[in-house]
């Protein structure tokens, strides 16, 4: 492929990506940052965990994204009695009164599946988590004596961070499979809040998502384009040093002079970011650079996705787990504020 055609391809896809963003922004207000993050995850081919309270628009957001992305959209609700087989198949009595078996939501659309939405994933049992982990990593599953390939599938899951009853905490290994954990928060802007309350168009989620232009992206070409994009964006040695410092700071924050008001950082971190997590960080940062019409990575690109990619990967000591959301966000903020370009050794 020539450089001209690559440039054209990059520009065309960028237009589509920005169109998708704008389409979703028309129906989901006050979530621009989350929309940009999901857009990045789509092009970085990463799964997304949404975190937020009840009724903040997570489902509407995902349905809008799924409509713009094209392909099939499947959804399952996490419940305490949900078993792995419920994702694979379900049984029912047919019209003829005989039992029948049909493919479950994970298999039903086959290779056309572009978005699989797992609502309230933390209500599902660990057995279900284990199945999802495998599918997310391998993008295929064996059932009915054959292999179902899901090459274009992105998993969007959400978890309710408020309720803890009858929930199963997602283990760190499972969290690490998600490229991003995106917080969905109620907009601060007073006008937006007023619109959400009084504008009747926001009262009908299904009708709202229908306003999003469908099939903005060719979902089945995203994998190939993602490879092109990733190989096109460069990282300089200065930026590599910076990223390494960031990684080290997630493991030994105190070494970078990072302090938190309420806790001792030396006792806070059990394990820092994983190599897979750092790989995903750079992958997402490259997508951000591409969206910003650049062909090289800037620190801004890393900053743009650092919270979403790193915060949920940090393994905190158990005594701090109950405050995970607050502490991990606080720590990532401090890391970005304290670790800087040039690297410490070069600045000295």
């Amino acid at each position: 492929m020539t450089s001209v055609s690559i440039a054209t391809q990059l520009a065309d896809w960028r237009d589509h990506a920005l169109t998708l963003e704008n389409e979703v922004k028309k129906v989901v207000v006050g979530q621009d940052k989350a929309i940009r993050a999901i857009n990045i995850a789509i092009f970085a081919r990463g799964h997304v965990l949404l975190e937020g309270g009840v009724g903040v628009g997570k489902t509407t957001l995902l349905q809008s994204i799924a409509r713009g992305l094209g392909g099939a959209y499947e959804r399952i609700e996490g419940t305490v009695d949900l078993m792995p087989n419920d994702l694979i198949y379900h049984t029912f009595l047919g019209e003829d009164g005989r039992p029948k078996v049909e493919e479950g939501p994970l298999l039903r659309a086959g290779e056309q599946l572009s978005v699989f939405f797992f609502n309230e994933i933390n209500r599902a049992r660990p057995q279900v988590h284990a199945l999802m982990l495998r599918v997310m990593a391998e993008r295929h599953v064996n059932a009915f004596k054959k292999e179902y390939r899901l090459p274009h599938m992105l998993v969007f899951a959400d978890r309710n961070q408020v309720e803890k009853n009858e929930t199963f905490e997602i283990p760190s290994a499972a969290r690490d499979r998600f490229m991003m954990e995106i917080p969905i928060e109620i907009p601060e802007d007073r006008e937006l809040r007023k619109a959400l309350m009084f504008d009747v168009k926001f009262q009908h989620a299904e009708r709202l998502t229908q306003q999003v232009q469908g099939g903005v992206l060719a979902y089945d070409q995203l994998n190939a384009f993602s490879d092109v994009l990733q190989s096109h964006i460069r990282a300089s040695d200065v930026l590599e040093d910076y990223a390494l410092d960031l990684w080290q700071a997630t493991q030994s924050p105190a070494a970078f002079g990072i302090q938190l008001d309420s806790v001792d950082v030396n006792r806070l971190i059990h394990t820092g970011a994983s190599p897979r997590g750092m790989g995903m960080l750079l992958k997402a940062a490259r997508v951000h650079a591409w969206l910003m019409q650049r062909d090289s990575l800037y620190p801004e690109d890393i900053h743009a996705v650092f919270h979403e990619i790193i915060a949920h990967r940090l393994v905190l000591n158990p005594m701090f787990e109950s405050r995970r959301t607050q502490l991990s966000r606080e720590l990532t903020n401090q890391i970005l504020a304290s670790v800087s370009v040039p690297a410490r050794a070069k600045a000295a």
Binding site: R234, S236, V238, P299, E300, L336, S338, S340, P342, K346
Partner: protein
Amino acid sequence: MKQIFLAWLVVGLVAMPAGAETPVAATSPAAAQVLNVRNPAHYAGIQMGDVLQRSLQVAVAAQDQLNDSNLPLKGLQRHGIELRQLAVSSAVKDGKKIYTLQFEYQVFANSGQPVQLQLPAERVSFNSGATVELPAWRFWLMSQLPDRLHPAKPTLITQYRPSLVETQTTQLGLGLSALLAVLGGLILLYRNADWTWLPMMNGHFAHAYRRLKRLPATADGQKQAALMMQHAFNQHYGQQLLGSEVHAFVQQQPVFQSLESQIQAFFAQANALLYGGQLPAATEYLQQCKALARELRACERRV
């Protein structure tokens, strides 16, 4: 006549040794007999402070006794001669009593020229009425001092300082060396010092500017320049300053507000250089960085 002259000569010659001996007169030979008189061995070359001794040995009857009250007293001075000591001893021998008198004198006279003095004549008397006279004994006092004493001051010779060694050239060389050493030290200080102890010299951009001046006009140099400037911005901002945060930065620190567009331009160029691999002309870029650092330094100093 001739016979008479020869007889007189013989008598004279015979009488001379007797004359040479100190003639000791014993007024009553039967009562006191002088046995021995001994005078100092030298009569010349005597000096002030010298001690002279002479002794007299007299034999008297055994029952006779020396009259002590007539003896001269110790300490008696006569014409510069002081009787320093007088010792008397006696012994009986062959039915006679023999007295030995030991006189010890010390010379205190002084003269600028040799002068003849004498130990005074001494008279010794006994209870029987017999007396013995020890005649005076002459000697020459030879002074070591000049005859005329004068104050020392007029005769003093002025003590001049020794003539100084010629050191002008050495001093000039030393001064020149010291000057060069001080100059070299100042140059080294100028090149290497941080100057942070000086007022208005410890700003982040002042520090960056000093380091920028030392950078070579190479690709690595310009990268270092961008990093130094970036570091100075980070220090001012308190955290990593990104190009997209320049507006927030100048809002936070209004002293830099007038340079906002230049800071934006710097970040655009620095990002292209550090992350995009686009290398502008090194010399020109370094000049731009230095110029911006100077302006930022001025803002930093609020001048």
